[in-house]
Symmetry: C2
C-alpha cells in the first residue's frame, strides 16, 4: 500500500499515521529497552501496579506524581526512582523533558482521569489510565482526542482483558463449546467505607456502577463480543447513614445485545457482593466467581462436548495467577504497544464505550450522573 505525503498528513490528522509507520522507536530492540512509567497518584491500586511492573520484562517505574513528598520519596527509594523524577500535581507538566518517562499510569480518583490524561498527553507521554476512563462521555472523547493529537497511545487499564482465565471463558464461547449464549448474569460490589473517595461524587463521578459495576458491563461485552443496544435500570438507597447523600447505594440493570443475548447486572456500595458472571447457553453454562479480583478466580462450566446427548464436559479450574500478575500482564501489553506503535487491546475507544453504557444505564434508571 502506497501512501502519498498528502494522504499521510490526512491519516495523521485521523490518528492513523502512527499505526502505518514501520517500527523505528528505540523499542525496536525488543528485550533491550524498558518503557519508563510515571505513576500519578500513589494509592492502593498504584501499589499493585508498581509491584506488577517489577515482574514485567519491558516496563519500569521511572517517575512519581504525588501530593505527599515524603510518601513519594519513600516509594521512589523502593523502586529506584531518582528524586528528580518526583513531581507534585502542580509541576507535573515539567516531566515533558524527562527522557526516562515514556508513559504515565493514571491511578487517581475517577474525576481526575480526564485532566491528568490530557496533561500527560500534552507533555508527550503515552497514557495508561485506570478504569473507569472518566466520569462522562464527553471527558472520554476529549481524552481520546488529546492522545490522538499528541500521537501518544492511550490504554484503559482493564486488567481482565489480559487475564488467562477470562480469555479462556471468552474462547469457550467464541469456539461454540457452550452453543448459543442466551443470557448472562453478573454482579460486583462491596460495603464502602464512609471515608472512601468513592462515596464523594465530586471525586468518583457517580456510584458503584462507575467503579465496580463497570466490570460486569465490560465482561458482558467481551464474553459476547457484542455491544449492548437496549438498557433498563433501577437504583435505590437503603442505608440512611449519610454515606449516600450524593449517589445511590444500589443499581441493577438489564442489557440487550444485537443477537438477542440478555444480561442482568448489579452493583452496590452497601453489601458484600463478590464479583461473578454466569453465562447460560444452549449447550451448557459457565460461571466465574470472584471474577473481578486481583487473583483467586474460579471458572466452572458444564456443557455437551458436541451435539446434545454427546459426552458431557465439565470444567472446574482455579486461576493460578497471583496478585500482582494481572498488573504485570497489563504493563507488558501497554509497553509492547508503546515500543511497537500498536493500538492497545483495551484502547480509549473501548473505555469510551463503557462510559456511554454507564450513562445509558443511569438514564434508564432516571438518575443523572457525572
Amino acid at each position: 500500500m502506497r501512501v502519498t505525503r498528502r494522504e499521510f498528513s490526512k491519516l495523521g490528522a485521523m490518528g492513523l499515521a502512527a499505526r502505518m509507520l514501520p517500527v523505528v522507536s528505540a523499542g525496536a530492540q525488543s528485550g533491550e529497552r524498558k518503557v519508563g512509567y510515571c505513576v500519578i497518584g500513589l494509592g492502593t491500586i498504584a501499589d499493585h501496579f508498581m509491584r506488577g511492573v517489577q515482574g514485567s520484562s519491558n516496563s519500569k517505574i521511572t517517575g512519581l506524581v504525588s501530593g505527599h513528598r515524603d510518601k513519594a520519596e519513600r516509594i521512589a527509594a523502593q523502586y529506584g526512582v531518582p528524586k528528580s523524577s518526583i513531581y507534585s500535581y502542580e509541576d507535573m507538566d515539567k516531566f515533558r523533558d524527562n527522557k526516562m518517562i515514556d508513559a504515565v499510569y493514571v491511578a487517581l480518583p475517577n474525576s481526575m482521569h480526564a485532566e491528568y490524561t490530557i496533561r500527560s498527553a500534552k507533555a508527550g507521554k503515552h497514557v495508561l489510565c485506570e478504569k473507569p476512563m472518566s466520569t462522562t462521555v464527553s471527558e472520554a472523547e476529549a481524552m481520546i482526542a488529546a492522545c490522538r493529537d499528541a500521537k501518544v497511545q492511550l490504554m484503559i487499564a482493564y486488567r481482565l482483558h489480559y487475564d488467562p482465565l477470562h480469555l479462556k471463558a471468552v474462547k469457550l464461547i467464541k469456539d461454540g463449546a457452550l452453543g448459543k449464549v442466551q443470557t448472562i448474569n453478573g454482579a460486583f460490589g462491596f460495603d464502602a467505607s464512609p471515608t472512601a473517595w468513592r462515596l464523594n461524587k465530586a471525586l468518583a463521578g457517580g456510584g458503584s456502577l462507575f467503579d465496580v459495576g463497570i466490570y460486569v458491563v465490560n465482561a458482558c461485552r467481551y464474553l459476547t463480543g457484542e455491544e449492548p443496544v437496549k438498557f433498563t435500570a433501577v437504583t435505590s438507597t437503603i442505608d440512611q447513614d449519610g454515606r449516600f447523600s450524593t449517589m445511590e447505594e444500589n443499581v441493577s440493570w438489564t442489557m440487550k445485545f444485537p443477537s438477542g443475548v440478555l444480561a442482568t447486572g448489579s452493583s452496590t456500595y452497601g453489601a458484600q457482593m463478590p464479583g461473578y458472571f454466569k453465562v447460560f447457553a444452549s449447550k451448557g453454562w459457565m460461571e466465574m466467581s470472584s471474577a473481578y479480583g486481583y487473583d483467586g478466580a474460579k471458572l466452572r462450566a458444564s456443557f455437551w462436548g458436541g451435539e446434545k446427548g454427546s459426552p458431557h464436559m465439565e470444567i472446574d479450574e482455579a486461576s493460578t495467577e497471583k496478585d500482582p500478575v494481572q498488573f504485570t500482564r497489563e504493563a507488558d501489553h501497554f509497553s509492547g504497544c508503546v515500543l511497537n506503535n500498536k493500538v492497545p487491546k483495551s484502547s480509549g475507544e473501548e473505555g469510551l464505550r463503557d462510559m456511554k453504557y454507564i450513562e445509558e444505564i443511569y438514564a434508564a434508571a432516571g438518575t443523572v450522573q457525572g
Copy 2:
C-alpha cells in the same frame, strides 16, 4: 370475640367465616383421617405428587382425571384407586358425589388451571393447584372467588415454601444474620423441547416466566418478605427454529421492593440455566444453587457472626431432602389445612400476587401475554 349471625353471614361472603369456625370436620381426629386427593392430569409432575403423597401421614390418592383411560387404570391400580374413581375431563364434575374425594390436585397445563380449579370448587372439593396459578390476573381472581363461594380451601403448589433449606435461608435473613439485604439475583430456565406444551402459548399462557421465572419472582418475595413495587424488563428470541413463534425465548427483569432492595431475574426456554438465587447484604452474602429443583439444593453463605469484624461465619449445607419429599410436605400442609380449616401458607392470594408481577414484568418489557 363474639360474632352475631348477621355478622357471620357477612364474614362468610368475605371468605373469612371458615377461619373462625371451631374445628368440626371429620379431620378433627388428627392422625385418624386422610384427605383424599383426585389428581387432575397425569403428567410428570402428577407422578411426583402421587409418589410424594405415599409418604404423607394425612393424604392419600383417591381419584384420577385423565383423557387416557388406559393410563389412568394403570396408575389407579398402582395407588389403590378404585376404577369408579377414574374420571374423564368431560365427566369429572360427577366426583361431587364421591365421598372419597376431598380435594383435587390440578396438574394440567397452565391455561387449564382456572377452569379445573373452578369446576372442582363448584363440585365442593378443596383445590391444590400447580403454579403458575393461572395465565392471567383475572383468571386468578375468579379462582379465588370460586373457592371462597364454595367454602373450599385453595392452595397454590409452591413446594419451596415448605422446604427446610429455603426456610433456613428465609430465617437467616429474618434473624438479621446477613445484615441489611441490598440486592438479590436469580435465574431459572432450560432448553425446552419443541414438542412441550410449554412452547404452545394457548396451553402455557406465555413464556418461561410463567413456568420457571416465577420461582425467581417468588423467591425474591419470600426472601425479603416484601412485595415488589417497580419493574423493568426485556425479552428476546435468538433461535429462529420455529419453537418461539408464539412466545419469547428469554426474559430478564429487575424488581424494586419498598425497602429499596433491588432484584434481577432471568428465565429462558433456550438455555441450560440451573436455578439459583444470590442474596447480597451488609454483613455478608448467601446463595442457593440448584435452588428450584426437586432435590439437590445447596446453600452457601458467608457473613460476620456479629458486628463487622466479629468472627466470620460460613454455611455450606446440602439439602438432605430427596424427591418426592417436597411433594410430601406440600400434601401434608394442604391436608392439614383442609382437616383443620386453615388457610394454606401458599394461598390463592399468594399465587395471585405472582400473576400480577408476571403481568407487570411483561408489561415493562412491552410484551403482552395471556
